[in-house]
Amino acid sequence: MTRAFNILLPLALGIAILAIWEWTVAARHIPVYVLPAPSAIARALAANFPSLMASLLATLTVTLEGFVAALVAGVGLAIAFSQSRMTERALYPYAVVLQVTPVVAIAPLILIWIGYDHINAALALIAALVAFFPILSNTILGLKSADFNLVDLMRLYGASRWQILWRLRLPTALPYLLGAMKIAGGLSLIGAVVAEFVAGSGTATGLAWRIVEAGNRLEIATMFAALLLLALLGIVIFAVFSLLEWMLLRRWHESVLRAQE
């Protein structure tokens, strides 16, 4: 009953909003170039479906490449920091600098350095830069949260640093990492969109470029259709990581167990 209610309530609300939107646009004769009705957006989506799907695939590819790069770099660096305090002291300030520098400001530089010939690599790098820091900081926190007594116990039994890392620190860090991945998945999508905006037309082929292009042609319904696909992509990314979190933590971690109660 509660589960059905939790699904039906937001669904009903969404349908109501769409109905009010449709009615308002029709009743007040709002021009399509100001605010298209949901039915107009649906028609634009159907009419441009193949090209929008190609753009969606392009944005998804950049997002995933950026995310994987951020994941590998963030976890790798966090492990290096956990194994060597000197490495952490030397490099962490630069990671913070990277985090606080607006990516929009450095994106043109990256595009110039990597070159428009390798535009997808440049876009993925920008997406990775946006997604990197939450993974790094959360994984560091997780690796440092290992139970001190268990660390002592493992040392007592002659465990090596790598055994402690593999058997204790990484599993302890897993919930922190999974939380960061949910944030970073969305951030890498934002990074990919920002990168496509900066790259401009003629090079990028993703949804952000389609939004700019449709805006220039005053095809507002197509703009909304591309926006809708971006929002759906963000939801799917979040849902996939939420599912992964549930699968990996469902048997033992409080956060998932509490949610199931």
């Binding site: 139970d147 007594n149 268990l150 002592d152 116990l153 493992m154 040392r155 007592l156 039994y157 002659g158 465990a159 055994q163 058997r167 204790l168 599993p171 897993l174 048997r251 033992w252 971690h253 167990l257």
Partner: protein
């Protein structure tokens, strides 16, 4: 024959706290010794020094030969929440890279000895406090330790669980010929389990009294046991 001797051991922490000063005692092979004393007197520090988890500042800890295989049980069960009881019990063997089949057999045997054979696949969250502590002890037993160090392992348990675990621990120590150093706040527990109770003074800790207890079976309701408890309690009051 002494398994280990602590001679004038002292420990001061970085924050300036002097936990131990001139701590001296010996433990015989196969003996069950309890360390009893007021909170903060350095009982746990003494155990960690013996385990080699921290270093002494003064004095020496000497072993009769090479340091034997150790087991350690903390006040909390200290289990890996992401691993089932079998994997937790197998931990010391996994760290020594013992073949999985052998390690599984030894861990299951240890769990069975603690009455948990049917709970090998259970995760810590699915176990009661007493059962978690049993897994913790099984993990220590799986390593087949010669010396078992226990740091107030039953302090958080209800009285029936505590008494049941006391009985099991006593039986296991006798069956295996294990030497046990047991830290506790409980006069009753120390009196019931131990061959000898070492009462420590307030910080900085040292041995204030040594009370050998009669050998043989103990009945918690007997007059002889009450007399043992009285002697231990008296020594604790005087040490405080």
């Amino acid at each position: 024959m002494s398994l280990l001797v602590l001679n004038g051991v002292g420990k001061r922490f970085d924050n300036g706290t002097e936990a131990l000063s001139g701590l001296s005692f010996s433990v015989a092979d196969g003996e069950f010794v309890s360390l009893l004393g007021p909170s903060g007197c350095g009982k746990s520090t003494a155990l960690r020094l013996i385990a080699g988890l921290i270093a002494t500042d003064s004095g020496a800890i000497t072993w009769s030969s090479t340091r034997p295989e150790l087991g350690f049980v903390f006040q909390e069960p200290t289990l890996m929440p992401w691993a089932d009881a079998l994997t937790n019990a197998r931990l010391p063997l996994d760290l020594k890279n013992i073949l999985r089949a052998d390690a599984d057999a030894r861990a299951i045997h240890a769990l069975a000895r603690m009455g948990l054979k049917d709970s090998a696949g259970a995760y810590p969250r699915e176990l009661s406090g007493g059962m978690k502590m049993r897994v913790s002890i099984a993990r220590a037993l799986a390593a087949e330790p010669k010396l078992l160090l226990m740091d107030e392992p039953f302090a958080a348990l209800d009285e029936p669980s505590r008494q049941a675990l006391n009985d099991d621990l006593k039986r296991l120590a006798r069956e295996d010929g294990m030497t046990v150093i047991f830290v506790t706040h409980s006069v009753m527990e120390a009196s019931y389990l131990s061959d000898r109770v070492l009462v420590m003074s307030a910080r900085p800790g040292r041995i204030a009294a040594e009370i050998p207890l009669p050998s043989g079976e103990r009945d918690r309701l007997s007059a002889a046991f009450a007399e043992s408890q009285r002697r231990v309690a008296q020594a604790l009051l005087e040490a405080a």
